[in-house]
């Protein structure tokens, strides 16, 4: 099913081009040139792309209003305002901030990440090397033997957290805090131990991991 993107942008040239690009990438784009009437499209919108400098109400005001009414719809600010102050103000309510000029691939990638993060896309089946993963049913199958791989709760949480952020590097503290829900202490080896056990179960060769990639000194990444 095509996802609906509500796109608010007053610049005709940029608006037309972004709409076209995102449509080509398989989204249904509703493009408005001002914030007027935006709320009427929120019921069907899966994500909002919002410019800040708009005629009438600015993007900050519109975004805050939309977020208040529809907290479960992600908002991505797409603005030519690049100062730290603007970003901080924007990220009070918005979920991501992209500055112009941007690469369309970057915008598309961020849109996808946001949709995933908010559970708007739930891929029924992920094929990852020899693994078939049914995220919605919490089942991981080794496609070579068709045997289900049984993970502990923590291992499963770590793995799904990585899967929900495909192609993104996640730092140790990010993963630890998402899974354990408490602040990560520098030098804590718990996460490393869990990942080693996880790899023993899912990797073909745990000493040369293919699925969960270690980015030395930074974190882990799952490429899809």
């Amino acid at each position: 099913m095509r996802k609906n993107l509500l796109y608010i942008e007053d610049n005709k040239e940029i608006g037309a081009w972004v709409s076209e690009d995102l449509t080509e990438r398989g989204y249904h784009v509703i493009w408005l040139t001002s914030g007027e009437g935006a709320i009427g499209h929120m019921e069907i919108a899966d994500l909002v792309i919002l410019d800040i400098m708009l005629p009438g109400l600015d993007g900050f005001s519109i975004g805050q209003r939309l977020k208040k009414e529809f907290p479960k719809t992600p908002i991505l600010l797409l603005s030519a305002r690049s100062s730290i102050d603007d970003k901080l103000q924007g990220l009070h309510f918005a979920d991501d901030y992209v500055t112009k000029p941007f690469h369309p691939d970057e915008l598309a990638a961020r849109v996808e990440v946001l949709l995933r993060r908010f559970g708007k896309i739930s891929p029924p089946l992920i094929q990852l090397a020899h693994l078939s993963i049914h995220l919605d049913q919490n089942i991981i199958v080794d496609s070579r033997s068709n045997a289900e791989i049984i993970l502990t709760a923590k291992q499963f949480q770590i793995f799904t957290y990585l899967l929900r952020h495909p192609n993104q590097i996640l730092t140790k503290e990010q993963i630890y805090e998402a899974v354990w829900g408490s602040p990560y202490m520098e030098g804590d080896k718990t996460l490393m131990v869990h990942i080693r056990h996880l790899r023993e179960k899912i990797e073909k060769n745990p000493s040369q991991p293919q699925i969960i990639e270690t980015i030395r000194g930074i974190g882990y990444r799952v490429k899809q």
Binding site: V18, A80, S82, I84, P101, E173, G217, I218, G219
Partner: protein, 448 residues
């Protein structure tokens, strides 16, 4: 200000009051005594001895040829008037008459020897004595008037000895001191209040206005101060408005330049989908990279302007540096990966905590990585690690590019490094750069 409200006037009033009061201290002290003490009136009578002598001689001559009864009667009347005096008279035969009060050392029958003895005594140390012949004639006898010397002596001698007068004078003096002290302490209190009001900054960072209760010299000072505060508030407001305008202007310029850049970038991207000659592809790639550069330049320009004007909000806090740098590395890793860099990250066992603004420090790291990607591509290496140097923890960012002095095919690093320098300085951090043809090492550390 009316002259009578002035502090000067009030002070002159106090001084004048004191000057007028001082000479009146003695009279004021004695007047109540006059009324209370009848005796003093009596005492005063004996002060003027000349007058007493005249009176006695006059009385004596008036009694010329009078009978003893008449003389007795007159002396009794006089005795009533001068109650503290001793009076008697001696008749022609040398008999003492009407001695009141009775005195033992006065003979009843006078001989010539007695008279000489008596006169000798009265001239020397004895009581003050007046002797007068009755009717001015030695044959009719004489009459004597005696008062103790203590009564005829001037009062002033006794005034100095008067303890109460001293206390009274001291009290008057103390009263004057107290009034003066009250006057000056009141002035002092108001001045201190004013000083406090001038030093303590209100909500806006400017001292609040003071309340004015009296229109005197200090009140006028308060008014002048309030006027100054008004001016200050106005100029602060104006400055803020100008600052906001300038900030807005810079933000608008940056925005207005970015908008067409976005369109250029978009169309360049659309062109990629068309079939192009290799030369066309190359031009397109150049356009894209220049758009990126321009956009970063704009970003730096905006930051630099705000920073150098000191208008960048800074929120320093104790920050886990490893976590912060790691977060930056997460976003830069794909870029390094794409350019074929080796990313070498090594962390210390224990954490590293510095007091920085996380946003600012991220910006610093971004600028440094940006330079690595732009100018040190040939080295294909970026290293991030911490080490101990001269007894302090240092964050090192290292590349194996051609070095900073050897130039680079892309210019524009200047402003990025200026921003790094400014931001480090603001956060009380410092840096050193070691650059050679085999690479550049940048050391970031806390200032001592």
């Amino acid at each position: 200000m009316k002259i009578r409200q002035s502090l000067l006037m009030k002070y002159l009033l106090i001084i004048t009051g004191a000057l007028i009061l001082w000479p009146l201290v003695l009279p004021i002290y004695y007047i109540p005594k006059e009324f209370l003490d009848k005796e003093i009136k009596q005492k005063i009578m004996y002060l003027d001895t000349e007058k007493l002598e005249q009176m006695w001689h006059r009385e004596a001559s008036k009694l010329n040829g009078a009978t003893p009864e008449k003389i007795n009667k007159r002396l009794q009347t006089l005795k009533e008037q001068y109650s503290m005096a001793t009076m008697f008279w001696v008749d022609a035969d040398g008999n003492t008459k009407l001695m009141s009060p009775n005195q033992i050392n006065i003979p009843n029958q006078w001989t010539l020897q007695d008279s000489v003895e008596f006169m000798k005594k009265s001239v020397g140390t004895g009581p003050f004595t007046i002797v007068s012949y009755i009717g001015g004639d030695s044959n009719q006898g004489f009459m004597v008037f005696q008062v103790p010397r203590s009564l005829t002596e001037p009062l002033s001698a006794s005034a100095i000895d008067d303890m109460y007068l001293l206390v009274f004078a001291f009290l008057v003096f103390a009263l004057f001191l107290f009034i003066s002290w009250l006057f000056f302490s009141k002035i002092r209190r108001r001045l201190v209040q004013l000083q406090t009001a001038m030093t303590e900054a209100g909500e806006t960072g400017i001292p609040d206005k003071v309340a004015i209760s009296k229109i005197d010299e200090i009140g006028q000072l308060g008014q002048a101060f309030n006027h100054m505060i008004d001016e200050l508030t106005k100029s602060r407001k104006r400055e803020q408005e100008e600052e906001a305008l300038r900030k807005q202007l810079i933000a608008n310029i940056s925005h207005d330049l970015r908008t067409p850049l976005t369109t250029i970038r978009g169309h360049a991207y659309s062109l990629q989908k068309e079939s192009l000659s290799p030369k066309g592809e190359e031009s397109l790639h150049l356009i894209e990279s220049k758009v990126d550069m321009l956009s970063q330049l704009l970003d730096n320009l905006l930051s630099y302007t705000l920073l150098s004007a000191g208008k960048y909000t800074i929120k320093q806090k104790e920050t886990d540096m490893m976590r912060l740098i790691r977060a930056s590395l997460v976003s830069w890793y794909p870029v390094f990966e794409k350019e074929g860099f080796e990313v070498d990250v090594r962390w210390p066992e224990k954490g590293l905590v510095w007091n920085v603004d996380p946003q600012w420090f991220t910006r610093i790291i971004d600028n440094l990585f940006q330079n690595v990607v732009r100018h040190a591509k040939s080295g294909r290496y970026v290293g991030v690690h911490t080490e101990e140097k001269e007894g302090r923890n240092v964050v090192v960012i290292e590349d194996r590019g051609p070095g900073m002095n050897n130039g680079s095919h892309e210019k524009g690093a200047g402003i990025g490094l200026s921003i790094v320098s400014l931001m480090l300085k603001e956060m009380n951090l410092d840096w050193t750069i070691e650059s050679s043809s085999s690479g550049t090492r940048i050391y970031l550390h806390e200032k001592n």
